[in-house]
Symmetry: C2
Subunit: 259 residues, 2 copies
């Protein structure tokens, strides 16, 4: 059965979607079968992987809310071995729609288990979470085996980390005892300014081995690629951003195999 | 009575908090009386204006939920004329706490009106919104006279703009007919890369006069200032970021006076 990794951080703009797209691509390029689930009503991962809004006829909203008698569908992307279940703006009503459901925290987990045959071929499921600790993100944490935390090398991004860790702890003690931290990856590292170095030193001091050796540099090719509807690994394979995500995939796999 | 401006964009990390802090500071420096309301459970605006977590005894959560018999308090900041009502993580349960309240969309508006004497001295109230179109952000849009939209010069940030505009339109037709767009400010503009120029051209073509002339450049002093718990205008008054926010304040005032 697949390893389900939630890519989460309630701080906005830290590189969750960019990590879901490019780490997913790098894992697929290494021969692994990967599914991305876009859990953000903004639908950025869906756009970044080339699924235009009009094509999104089976969505994460359908997965969560139209459970009976509907076959799970996922979409091919430009990357062999990488598929996606796209998101649409109607996902933003999920919180309100689920609030009276006694199993609202477990809805995604229940769905993924009940439709397990649709996912049995996958080796990885990456869930791209919205910038919030709302019911959608909690559902992802309850469903996941592990959580991967992109951490922007900025002061405000550090501030939210302890809140996120507390939430992971709460989910682990109440709903998903098996939940572990996959790792913390530093993103948008800019060698030109001291702040990045300070944040890195601070995070490695406090979180040690949880932090990947691989650091994702600030690299404009990563932010240009989505406008071409392809991952950076296809848009510019030799860019520093693409190389960093390939190294991250290698390090993630080595850690999994080492455990 | 004060002009209430919601600073909103559901895309994460686009500069909402940085704009609330530094535009607020620039308006105060020009002699206006400003209150920032931190509506984000992350509490970044509170931290950036020097209110440590342990000092936050009257918060936005109290403002919204402890309405009877409690006096509104706001905190002085390092900036004369600029005060803040800080946020704490308990604000993240606001969505769930309000869901059974028939006036849940109007709660903030009702509170601000019922406590109007506490706010009558203010000329501006800036509401720093979380990265989501949840009940908190809707409350801000229902309470506000106008909405100021920070727009990062990135492809994903453009994608969310039409969703935000639709939400503003819905709030205007259902709950707050007077709501207007204060303006759209381009943020993190990086002259070194083409993407910024493309986004600017695209936005000015489509939204014309709604877009401020003033563009906020990417400037590391803006991201360093919060770790010193002061606005960039105090941390480094002559930096390109500080100068840009002072120009933005001037342009905002000129537009208000011109209307
Ligand atoms: N390493 C990087 N270098 C340069 N730009 C980057 C990098 N990583 C991400 N970006 C850009 O920064 C912006 C924010 O990244 P992204 O959208 O992936 O973050 P997010 O955490 O998913 O945001 P949200 O909280 O809105 O979901 C995007 O425009 C993206 O293209
Ligand atoms: N013009 C700028 N130049 C450089 N860095 C900036 C600029 N504006 C904001 N930043 C930095 O970028 C990050 C994101 O900005 P900020 O936190 O203000 O965005 P936000 O929209 O409030 O994020 P969220 O969606 O999480 O609330 C912060 O670390 C901030 O210090
Ligand atoms: Mg995202
Ligand atoms: Mg913010």
């Amino acid at each position: 059965t697949p390893r389900i990794i939630a890519i989460a951080n309630q701080k906005g703009g830290v590189g969750k979607t960019t990590t879901a797209i490019n780490l997913g691509t790098a894992l697929a390029a290494l021969g692994h079968d990967v599914l991305v689930i876009d859990l953000d009503p903004q639908g950025n991962a869906s756009t970044g992987l080339g699924i235009s809004p009009s094509e999104r006829t089976f969505t994460t909203y359908d997965l969560l809310f139209r459970r009976e008698g509907v076959d799970v569908q996922s979409y091919m992307t430009a990357v062999p071995g990488l598929q996606i279940i796209p998101a649409t703006p109607d996902l933003s009503s999920a919180d309100v729609d689920m609030v009276s459901d006694p199993r609202r925290l477990h809805r995604m987990r229940d769905v993924l288990r009940s439709k397990i045959e649709a996912f049995s071929e996958r080796e990885f499921i990456l869930i791209d979470c919205p910038p919030s600790l709302n019911l959608l993100t909690i559902n992802a944490l309850v469903s996941a085996d592990t959580v991967l935390v992109p951490l922007q090398c900025e002061f405000f991004a550090l501030e939210g980390l302890s809140q996120l860790m507390r939430t992971v702890q709460t989910v682990r003690s109440n709903s998903n005892p098996a939940l572990r931290i996959e790792g913390i990856v530093l993103t948008m590292y800019d060698r030109r300014n001291n702040l990045s170095g300070q944040v890195e030193a601070d995070v490695r001091d406090n979180l040690g081995a949880l932090v990947y050796e691989t650091v994702i540099p600030r690299n404009v090719r990563l932010s240009e690629a989505p406008s071409h509807a392809v991952p950076a690994l296809i848009y510019d394979h030799a860019s520093s951003g693409s190389i960093a995500y390939q190294k991250l995939a290698g390090e993630l796999l080595a850690r999994i195999q080492g455990t």
